[in-house]
Symmetry: C2
Subunit: 415 residues, 2 copies
């Protein structure tokens, strides 16, 4: 895409009320636009990042055998009353409104209830299990405060997956496979080395639940990390008996700030019992279906990646998240340099490589600063002194510069 | 995909309160699930159709030079007050709620206001124009009644595009190009031959606006069609002076039922003036930006296609909308037939062809009835008598049956 055609522009300043690094950088670079506190529009570059994250998550969830669906934002009061999660005293983030006929409706902040209720149409026998399903849903939550940019919003995209299985054993198997799939997601999202499966309190059915926590100074959570052992513990379960069970000594723990990027829960048969989702086993007995739920905040993950990987010059995208594979910057002013840049653009595009081509009529220094801010991993610079067919290729993350022929660059980017 | 793995099942009956053909067939076939009147979940097969429609629309909008974004559901009261579209007297489909601090918010039923307001950040000079942008947004509308299945809902997906240009002349050019792009969309969606650009009343700026109307008995609108001339007229503008202007005689008009699948509007400079979106022209004068808006109901289009193309046995998908390219039905019970079906499944899948493989352990008659209901265009039948490597291939729309080798079938489906 030609940058001269992109309708967004970089800005020197973010909106004055932004305090979080992710929102400041993403607003300045033109990835997002703040509609109101906690609600952001995703502009062409931002939507590309979101789509890249969805692609990774979709691939990993499909590999688990999960089937994608999309539920509704509108929620039925009587359904949520069944599980005692309708009243504002029990759930304090509901947005509610009223149909013309006076019926109260809610806007989905979570979807265990409607999905589980729907499954009564499709699950009645042990032969119908297991069912794994997920969606990318825009969740609406009436949060009291919303100051963390796209890390915690009143409106945000979440991938929520649900597993319906026979029993605890089958649950454990899928749960463990999901932990691995989640680690794959975070690795591909560029934060694998700083993201830890974290022990948290387990609720009614299991001793522990698990969170995925990414180390970043701006994280809202504090976790305790036995880095050598790759074990992390949430504040809730930082007790001597837990430490003993996990074989970790208190003095080996580092207290670190972290942001939650995923969570997985075991509901056992509770929700199914409440909502009436039972299956007949081989003996003909009625058994509640065992439910697990598995979340990844898609927009939140984008924010955490910006918080964790950006530097003083701007955003640094990992390869699989970047809106473009390469940022081609025409830094020269001569006819020759423009012709060469056009040739590079054409060749890379025809090889199926996504390129943002800064063909704008502005100073090279401004282009470089914008390129640092935008954070595309590979920058290709064509200047007036570019000669002998050698292109200057700069790595955004390390700052390393290499000279490459167009052929070499094409092969490199196709990897 | 193996049908035995698909969690949805076909049903003999739709929910008892469904009256529209589209909702009845799509529910019975497991494409959609009714959460409440006017709000449907899209299940694995249904989401595939929606994604196919989005793909077509995205390709055609991108070809116009439009850039995809996604705005928010949450809407600011003060913004919509600016254009006098906040009060329930002026707009009777708002869902509204209240933030914790008492601020009223709305849920987006349309997005001209927030997109135009946002553009003040990106458009200030004639050099910034034109800007064409679009989104696939879940719209929320508090409709009094919702009985047309997915054709008119309280929650539905719409593609809305916006053009910001210099003047009426530039607008006309893009508007005309969009008419052509829309006709491409409807042709690819299988309803090109029954969809007509229809003259409707134009509002403040132009004599006419345009709708795209698809002929179907269940359509909510009545249009007047000069079929020979390819001209259609909305009831609103069925006046002698209009007929004369269009060169159509009243006695040549057919009165037909139709469903609106798209619409395009010319706002002129009105919204930009109201919201303060001006650009500086070459003479340095401040001029309101000329706005056009262009809608296609994505979920509605899916419903209209079902209404228009289905037959007494079930749904008939056009090729580009079908959830799978082929429905492979194992009708035999012998080991040989199962092995052959597995081979066909493997070969087609490895050729990149999307296949639904009915490998279930149910009677052939039930499989054929389900296949008719599901509506995948090409059915491949492997029975006990399938021999000499010849496969029975049935066209869902025409009922025509051909015998083909696996090689011939693969080539045919790859077209």
């Amino acid at each position: 895409m030609r940058q001269s055609q992109l309708f967004t522009k970089t800005r020197k300043d973010a909106p004055s009320d932004e305090v979080s690094k992710n929102a400041i950088l993403l607003s300045r670079a033109g990835y997002i636009y703040k509609e109101m506190a906690g609600a952001y529009a995703y502009l062409p570059l931002g939507l590309r990042v979101i789509d890249n994250i969805k692609k990774i998550v979709r691939e990993e969830m499909n590999a688990l055998g999960a089937q994608e669906i999309i539920m509704t934002a509108l929620q039925r009061k009587e359904l949520w009353e069944t599980t005692d999660r309708w009243s504002d005293e029990k759930v304090d983030v509901w947005f509610k409104s009223t149909l013309k006929n006076g019926t109260e409706v809610g806007f989905g902040w979570s979807h265990e209830e409607p999905i589980t209720d729907m499954m009564k149409n499709y699950i009645s026998s042990y032969r119908d299990l297991p069912v794994f399903t997920y969606q990318f849903q825009t969740k609406l939550r009436n949060e009291l405060r919303a100051k963390s940019g796209i890390m915690r919003g009143r409106e945000f995209v979440m991938k929520d997956m649900y597993s319906y299985v026979l029993d605890a054993e089958a649950h454990k198997k899928f749960y463990d496979a999901t932990i691995q799939a989640y680690l794959n997601v975070f690795k591909r999202a560029g934060i694998g080395d700083r993201t830890f499966v974290t022990f948290a309190s387990g609720g009614a059915f299991t001793e522990f639940s698990h969170e995925f926590q990414t180390l970043t100074d701006s994280g809202e959570d504090t976790i305790y990390l036995a880095r050598e052992k790759g074990i992390a513990i949430n504040k809730e379960v930082l007790r001597d008996d837990v430490l003993e069970k996990l074989g970790v000594k208190r003095e080996d723990l580092e207290e670190v700030a972290a942001a939650e990027v995923g969570n997985i829960f075991d509901f056992g048969g509770m929700k199914s019992t409440e909502l009436g989702l039972f299956y007949k086993n081989e003996a003909g007995e009625s058994v509640p279906v065992h439910l697990g739920s598995y979340g990844i905040g898609i927009t939140r993950l984008m924010g955490v990646v910006v918080e964790a990987l950006s530097d003083e010059k701007g955003i640094v995208w990992p390869k699989e998240l970047s809106p473009f594979a390469a940022h081609l910057v025409l830094a020269g002013t001569s006819e020759t340099s423009r012709a060469l840049a056009e040739e590079v653009y054409k060749t890379l595009s025809e090889s199926g490589i996504e390129v943002l081509f800064d063909d704008r009529d502005v100073r090279a220094g401004e282009k470089f600063a914008d390129s640092d801010l935008l954070g595309i991993p590979t920058r290709v610079i064509v200047g007036d002194r570019t000669a002998n067919g050698m292109l200057e290729v700069k790595d955004r993350a390390t700052g390393d510069v290499k000279e490459m022929t167009l052929d070499e660059l094409t092969s490199e980017l196709k990897k």
